[in-house]
């Protein structure tokens, strides 16, 4: 079967190993945030003319993402829930239309394809989903499930399809005798293997794996990961491997891309990323994972707060609202220690998690009794006065517009490249801390 398989794929193949297979250029995907028929209408009594406004809110799920995936490699895509990983995956498969930007597969823009040509290209791009339970039709036998994509693409005759399905079942580590069973007779790990066999049936070049092992127990996870790796070598597959678990990503990937709130924040060779994480978000992610070693030094919980809404993401660097290394605004001349105090004060006022309102107590608690000099000091004492007058909103507003919004992090979108310490692959980081190494 293998020979037949490779002869089929060789014919259409144009990219050789290490060449770009998939290329994303400035891909964005927005969704309209609407619940209900008239949600795009809003009333505004104070408006001139008609007291009605029309306007849609957009959820900016993926914004301006560019990267390439080379043939034969595994690109890991990691990020927390809601950061747009799955939306990006679906956009690549053209299950969703990108709002902006283009996606090239083997040099052709997928957006230009339609009808028969799109169908043919789809054969080369397959997907494996997270939930092994709901991604298999419970009323179809396993054999038919694996054969269905071949049938859809008019591959082989029914006899050969059955033979190929059985061979594939064996390849993914199942018993070919299970051809006639229903999915319910299989465990989660085995179902994920059936998904693998189905994806492989049409000889794809590229498989998008969306959290393929997160629903599995650790011991089963390891089995499936090993099988995926073996299959990659045997069939020369290219994976886009999406996961939220950095340990899994570290195991399977060649290069890793880290996503936050719809944007890529860091992309580098796996070793480089794990040994030399440069973006504060990547560092925070790495520090947060519990290490299975009681003697490892505890170092965690570095991030505060929650991910902001993608409807109205922060300006500049999207991570700045939670970033522990926000850069001080250039116009104030603050020492590192002073800036640290200011940020802590701003954070606490924003979260309103203390009850004292007396100016002296606040000065003592947050600034050791003396405020920094210059414009920053004036701003701070105004804010403290606001709090004394019990106007928290005003204090918070004053501090945010005076400090956080003045930082370079809020004013410019970062995009830098650093010299890799490990290997020679490009290492891109979206963080203004890297601006010194530039130009």
């Amino acid at each position: 079967m293998t020979e037949r398989a490779s002869s089929v794929s060789d014919g259409a193949d144009t990219a050789s190993f290490g060449e770009p297979l998939v290329e994303l250029r400035n891909v964005s995907k927005y969704f309209a945030n609407e619940e209900g028929l008239f949600s795009w209408l809003s009333f505004d009594r104070d408006a001139d003319g008609l007291p009605v406004e029309t306007g849609r809110e957009w959820v900016r799920a993926v914004e301006d993402v560019s990267f390439t995936i080379r043939k034969g490699e595994t690109l890991g895509l990691v990020g927390e829930s809601g950061c747009g990983k799955s939306t990006l995956a679906r956009t690549i498969l053209r299950l969703l239309e990108p709002t902006e930007g283009s996606i090239y597969f083997k040099g052709t823009d997928l957006a230009d394809l339609s009808g028969e040509r799109l169908r043919n290209t789809r054969k080369d791009i397959q997907m494996i989903f997270q939930d092994p339970q709901s991604s298999l039709d419970p009323r179809m036998k396993v054999g038919k499930i694996v054969e269905e994509p071949m049938q859809a693409h008019g591959m082989l005759n029914s006899e050969d399809r059955a033979a190929r399905a059985q061979e594939l079942l064996e390849k993914v580590g199942l018993d070919p005798q299970h051809y006639n069973r229903y999915p319910h007779a299989f465990s989660g790990g085995q179902r994920q293997r059936i998904n693998l066999a189905r994806a492989l049936s049409v000889n794809p070049d590229f498989i998008v794996c969306d959290e393929p092992v997160s629903a599995l127990d650790v011991s089963i996870q390891a089995q499936v990961l090993n099988t995926m790796r073996d299959l990659q070598q045997e069939f020369g597959l290219t994976y886009l491997f999406i996961a939220h678990d950095l340990s899994v990503i570290r195991h399977i990937s060649d290069r890793v891309a880290v996503m936050y709130l719809g944007q890529l924040v860091e992309l580098a060779d796996k070793r480089e990323l794990f040994e030399n994480p440069t973006h504060p978000y990547t560092q925070a992610l790495l520090d947060s994972i519990p290490v299975p070693d009681p003697r490892a030094d505890g170092h965690r919980g570095v991030l505060e707060g929650d991910v902001p809404s993608p409807i109205d993401p922060p300006s500049g660097c999207r991570f700045r609202t939670r970033c522990p290394e926000l850069i001080a605004p250039a116009e104030y001349d603050l020492t590192d220690g002073e800036w640290e105090c200011v940020r802590s004060f701003v954070r606490h006022v924003k979260r309103r998690d203390f009850t004292e309102t007396d100016p002296d107590t606040l000065r003592e608690r947050f600034f050791d009794g003396s405020l920094p000099g210059g414009g920053a000091g004036v701003l701070l004492s105004d804010a403290i006065a606001d709090i004394a007058a019990d106007d928290w909103e005003a204090a918070s507003e004053r501090l945010l517009s005076g400090f956080a919004e003045q930082s370079v992090c809020a004013r410019e979108e970062p995009d830098y490249e650093v010299e890799p310490e490990q290997g020679t692959d490009r290492h891109t980081v979206a963080c203004h801390l890297c601006r010194d190494g530039q130009d």
């Binding site: 927390e80 790990g189 127990d217 390891a222 990961l225 195991h251 299975p292 490892a296 991030l303 309103r352």
Partner: protein
């Protein structure tokens, strides 16, 4: 050492289903001392959650506690013995349902579940639910309870606690909802909190925040915890002592450092080997062969022998109890007959052929019973 806060002795829970009796928890014993965080770790289906829900007598039909005894602060939460016909019954020492509800649940022992959305009522405000709980359990007036509730929300790190008091659960993120549940659990300053996979549904950065919070609160209130998880990383981070469960039994019981550095049971070892590491690159993972057999029809002898790399002929017949296997100062129990503490024929017995695809047959025999 003082008497343990919680002592679980030979607990057995069975589910009487149409397909037969599922022995979900099959004779486990462990204890929790004051101020201690005890882990209960294992894969899904090992019986962890059933074991902890038995502590509060929350096992639901068709499940039943059919044997064993659970003592908490010298009181018997449940004791089940069998009469002459082998029919299980509760002994008189067991405290009555009403008393358990009023005195123990919530006040002395609190529980935090995995899914914070399902534990909060979506039609009441977060603050209202917390206030009601405090009002009932601590006999405070509504106003005092409200103040305490806001104070608790602030304590667990909810921003703008006073303003968010009137929010509904859906307006909170997953991590914040879990914080609310922790606030609720802590509100009555219980001596023991049972946490059933409380961070599994959360993102890593949020999980780290919650683990930090638990550490901090434990220090302040000196609460004991039973922490159920499948994540060895979490175990290493927070547990003092660990119980490893496999198929309804505890196979290893040790202080956390010993468990990782002086592993005594092949299952624990295999489990540790199969986890990808975040802090180093591992070329090839060593997965455990096969999948866990079903508890409805567990293998005879040692339950792990079908997947065990060290299994020998003798393992098919002897089901070892969990006994102390090291002569160290700290107790370290393991249920494996390869240790000298068990005087069996392990040494002379021929090795068993496991692995090499055999694992899949094991699971599929379970699947076949469905047809």
């Amino acid at each position: 050492m003082s008497a343990p806060l919680l002592r679980v002795d030979d607990l057995e829970v069975q589910f009487f289903t149409e397909d037969g009796v599922v022995r979900a928890v099959d004779g486990i014993s462990f204890d929790v001392r004051e101020g201690e965080l005890v882990g209960l770790v294992g894969e899904s289906g090992a019986g962890k959650s059933v074991a902890v829900s038995a502590i509060m007598r929350l096992v639901e039909s068709p499940g039943r506690i059919v044997g064993g005894c659970i003592e908490f602060k010298g009181e018997t939460l449940i004791e089940v013995e069998r009469d002459d016909d082998g029919e299980p019954y509760r002994t008189d020492a067991t405290i009555p349902d009403g008393e358990l509800r009023e005195r123990i649940r919530g006040r002395e022992i609190a529980i935090i579940f995995q899914d914070p959305m399902e534990s909060l009522n979506p039609v009441f405000t977060v603050g209202g639910q917390l206030r009601e709980f405090i009002e009932l359990n601590r006999d405070l007036s509504e106003r005092e309870a409200r103040e305490t509730a806001v104070q608790m929300l602030r304590e667990v790190g909810i921003p703008e606690a006073a303003a968010r008091y009137d929010d509904y659960p859906h307006q909170f993120s997953g991590g914040m909802r879990q914080r609310v549940l922790i606030a609720m659990a802590l509100a009555c300053e219980p001596s023991l909190i049972i946490a059933d996979e409380p961070t599994t549904a959360l993102d890593v950065t949020v999980e780290a925040q919650i683990l930090d919070l638990v550490d901090e609160l434990q220090e302040r209130y000196d609460t004991s915890f039973v922490w159920v998880t499948h994540d060895m990383g979490v175990v290493a981070e927070i547990c003092d002592r660990v119980n490893v469960m496999y198929l309804g039994e505890i196979v290893e019981q040790a202080p956390v450092d010993d468990l990782f550095y002086d592993t005594q049971h092949p299952y624990t070892e295999a489990l540790l080997d199969s986890v990808p590491r975040p802090d180093e690159t591992v070329e090839e993972l060593n997965p455990i062969k096969g999948v866990m057999p079903e508890a409805i029809n567990p293998p005879a002898g040692c339950r792990f022998h079908t997947r065990c790399p060290d299994a020998r002929e003798a393992c098919k017949t002897t089901n070892p109890d969990c006994r102390d296997v090291t002569d160290g100062v700290t107790e370290h129990r393991a249920a494996c007959i390869k240790h000298d503490a068990f005087e069996t024929a392990y040494e002379g017995s021929p090795p068993l052929e496991t692995g090499a695809g055999g694992g899949f047959d094991v699971s599929l025999s379970g699947g076949e019973s469905d047809d």
